[in-house]
């Protein structure tokens, strides 16, 4: 073993308080050290060339760099070692700058400590093993969980790069929450007009397959090799045969409240959620269909010209492999029934923003007329209440949902458009309109559309002779306000989907106490998670409006495509490894591994001449935390790069 020690001056950063020459001489006296020198800037090109020449000249096989912190130049010196013909993992650094020269002024003590730190590095490097980078094959396909605008945009970007994407959507059609909107702020484009073309491009793209009316059952494996179990719920309609002619759902006798229309309108048992549904294939709601409940009717099957209806279709479980996963599971609304002040949700005329969207929508249940759900009369005085659930630690959410101020302003505008003598009153705490043209939009609603903005909270809503009496305060004028409103629209906040924790556990990604998925780093890695290969987009990470959602969708797609373009993913070889002879199969490591990166493996034990189970590390999944090595009583499992021998050698040299 021939070790080369290279002590860096780092200009004066080190040389000022550490006698680098003497350190280099002392290091030369250490056992197994063949060559030791100093240079002003070891990380510079001349410095690195010095290393390369020294390696050639003295046939060095291991290198110790005494300079700055590894978090700065570990990669640099590893590449330099590789170019010099030394395995990159036979190089160790002694941090004699941040941990020595900068923090100790006494020259004698600093020099002594620098020598000891080099001795530690020498001890460690003497036990290093040459390691090769790990390469994991990448499955060239991306799974997108959720078919809202986030999922659709991701699918379009992935398909654009000619890589296959699979959209997994729980509802019968893609489109998500946005499909229910009427207009979008601030441009007032009709939501369907800007969404449907994207849905069509997705449905026609040969790179995108859609599993609608399907749920995710389980995820196994790791980046590059995710195995996902999908349950395709029985649609009772054969997608390939059905042309979407609509004969069936026009004849179906059943009328039940439509979830898509938030219960304002009705739908049949065999139905498509909304006219522009993609795929434009109906689904049979087995809870309400007369055939499934009472074995009666069956009209749809009879009149279907293409025999697409198949009552005894069963759920289908399929397994597919993916290289990356984009989570776009979206949001749901805060349940305003927790507020007694607003009547615990018993007033039919106290609706949420989405109800208003459905009413405003021309293809909605009310054909665009803003009416009072209780008696169907057109609503004249409408009160909008902001921050319902948001910014309320007691009964609601601690965070601000970001976009309610904007959609309420839009609603106030739509109200005026649909009924010119209607009057909107908006109770708010602060108007948050930070996006592009957002503030101007709100200003326009206040000035041109006469919306009355009252800064104050509503203390009570109660019904009196058919009207909703809204009691609130106007803190700017100090007056107590009482408005007899025809309709109250509650701007409920955005919360995570109810099954978000379940999905997070399946994907091994962390989530915060509001069940919103946690990003790898709030500033520097907002669309990634600490589980490599799993990316986040849209409101499932935190409430977002459509522009931000589309932006994060494209960002997540780039991250996923980053994996797709490589046929093999290079990974640091600093992963755990099991010594079969020593492992007793107690699997304390499997229980302790937070990344389920260890599996049971059956081997033929020569000594006992029997098959037995031992632990096996999945190199792709292992993040190298080393927790299993500390839990293993017989030290059968060891971590490359920070192995027991390396650390124990460092301890001996202390």
């Amino acid at each position: 073993m021939k070790i080369g020690v290279f002590v860096c001056h780092c200009g004066t950063n080190i040389a000022a308080t550490v006698d680098v020459e003497r350190v280099s001489q002392e290091a030369a006296k250490e056992p197994r050290v063949k060559f030791s020198t100093t240079y002003r800037y070891m990380c510079s090109d001349p410095g690195q060339n010095l290393i390369k020449e020294a390696v050639k000249k003295h046939h060095l096989d291991r290198i110790v760099i005494a300079s700055c912190s590894p978090s700065l130049h570990e990669k640099t010196f590893r590449k330099c070692a590789e170019k010099a013909g030394v395995n990159p993992y036979l190089m160790e650094m002694a941090n004699i700058r941040e941990h020595c020269s900068w923090v100790h002024q006494d020259r004698v003590e600093a020099t002594a400590k620098a020598i000891e730190l080099i001795r530690l590095a020498l001890a460690k490097v003497s036990r290093n093993k040459p390691l090769e980078y790990l390469y994991i094959p990448i499955e060239k396909k991306v799974l997108i969980i959720g078919g809202g605008i986030a999922g659709i945009q991701s699918a379009i970007d992935i398909a654009f790069a000619n890589y296959p994407a699979v959209i997994l959507e729980r509802e019968p059609s893609i489109g998500g929450r946005m499909a229910r909107f009427d207009k979008t702020f601030p441009t007032l484009d009709c939501a369907a007009c800007i969404l449907t073309p994207k849905m069509v491009t997705v449905s026609q793209s040969k790179h995108v397959t859609m599993h609608t009316y399907s749920e995710i059952e389980g995820v196994k494996g790791h980046v590059g090799d995710f195995t996902v179990t999908i349950r395709k719920k029985a649609r009772s309609v054969d997608i390939n045969k059905c042309t979407g002619c609509g004969a069936c759902y026009n004849k179906c006798p059943v009328r039940v409240p439509s979830e898509f229309d938030m219960g304002l309108g009705k739908r049949t048992a065999i139905y498509i959620p909304f006219p522009q549904a993609v795929p434009n294939v109906p689904v049979i709601d087995r809870q309400n269909c007369l055939w499934f409940t009472k074995q009666k009717c069956g009209i749809c099957k009879k009149i279907c010209p293409f025999e697409a209806i198949d009552y005894d279709m069963q759920d289908e479980i399929i397994e597919e492999k993916f290289g990356a996963i984009i989570v776009a599971s979206g949001f749901t609304q805060f349940n305003h029934a927790v507020y007694g002040e607003y009547g615990y949700g018993k007033y039919k005329d106290a609706i949420t923003g989405l109800h208003f969207e459905r009413m405003a929508n021309s293809s909605g249940p009310t054909g665009g007329k803003i009416i009072r759900p209780s008696d169907g009369k057109e609503a004249r005085d409408v009160v909008f209440i902001q921050c319902v659930g948001s910014r309320d630690e007691q009964k609601g959410l601690s965070y601000c949902s970001r976009l309610c101020c904007m959609y309420t302003a839009k609603h106030a505008l739509l109200l005026k458009e649909h009924n010119k003598d209607a009057q909107a009153y908006v109770f708010y705490i602060d108007i948050r309109a930070a996006g592009k043209n957002y503030e101007e939009f709100v200003k326009k609603v206040q000035d041109e559309y006469g919306a009355v903005y009252l800064r104050g909270r509503v203390s009570r809503i109660f019904e009196k002779s058919g009207k909703l009496i809204v009691r609130g305060a106007d803190t700017l004028s100090g007056a107590q306000i009482e408005i007899k409103a025809d309709l109250v629209v509650l701007a409920t906040g955005l919360v995570a989907q109810p099954d978000a924790p379940g999905l997070a556990r399946m994907l091994h990604i962390p989530y915060d106490r509001n069940n919103l998925f946690t990003e790898a780093h709030p500033k520097l890695a907002p669309v990634e998670t600490i589980t490599s290969g799993v990316f986040l987009t849209g409101a499932c990470q935190s409430p977002k409006d459509i522009p931000d959602t589309v932006a994060t969708a494209s960002a997540a797609s780039v991250k996923a495509l980053g994996l797709m373009v490589q046929d093999r993913l290079q990974r640091e070889p600093l992963v755990a490894k099991v010594d079969a002879k020593t492992c007793s199969g107690c699997f304390a490591c499997i229980q302790a591994c937070s990344f389920t990166a260890i599996e049971e493996e059956e081997i033929e034990d020569k000594r006992l001449k029997k098959k037995r189970l031992i632990a096996k590390v999945l190199e792709g999944v292992c993040t190298g935390c080393g927790n299993c090595t500390a839990v293993c009583r017989m030290s059968a499992i060891d971590l490359e790069g920070f192995s027991n021998r390396q650390i124990m050698e460092e301890i001996e040299a202390l």
């Binding site: 978090s71 923090v103 400590k113 600490i530 090595t629 500390a630 650390i647 202390l654």
Partner: protein, 154 residues
Amino acid sequence: MTATEGSPERKRGKDKKDWEPRIVGFLCKWCSYAGADLAGTSRLQYPPNIRIVRVPCSGRVNPLFVLKCLVNGIDGVLVSGCHIGDCHYSEGNFYARRRFVILKRLLEYLGIDPRRFQMSWISASEGDKWARVVKELVEEIKQAGPNTEFRKGI
């Protein structure tokens, strides 16, 4: 060179006066090691008695490492990791916390001065806390005195 002899530069004073404590710190590379780096970049001064061993996570530190250090005559051992909830590997420090409370109480039960083995949570932005912890540690170990329990190699 074993700790008992120590490097030639460091005098092996027998009595407490001119004895300098030898302390080892197992620092997790994502938080505490970065915290120590920050202390460096902010030029915070602290006594040179501590030697840092870099580990990927506080969860990597095996109780036998701490035991090996104490038994080799090291005067003080510190294990430092990310604050609970910040761990880069999400749960490493939870396991470390549970493992080392057992070891610490056992060592104390067997007569090892509790000050000799300590733990701390230091995040990558707490350079000042790192300098403070090292100062306090050196002070406490100075009071605890040299590790005579295992020094004489009995």
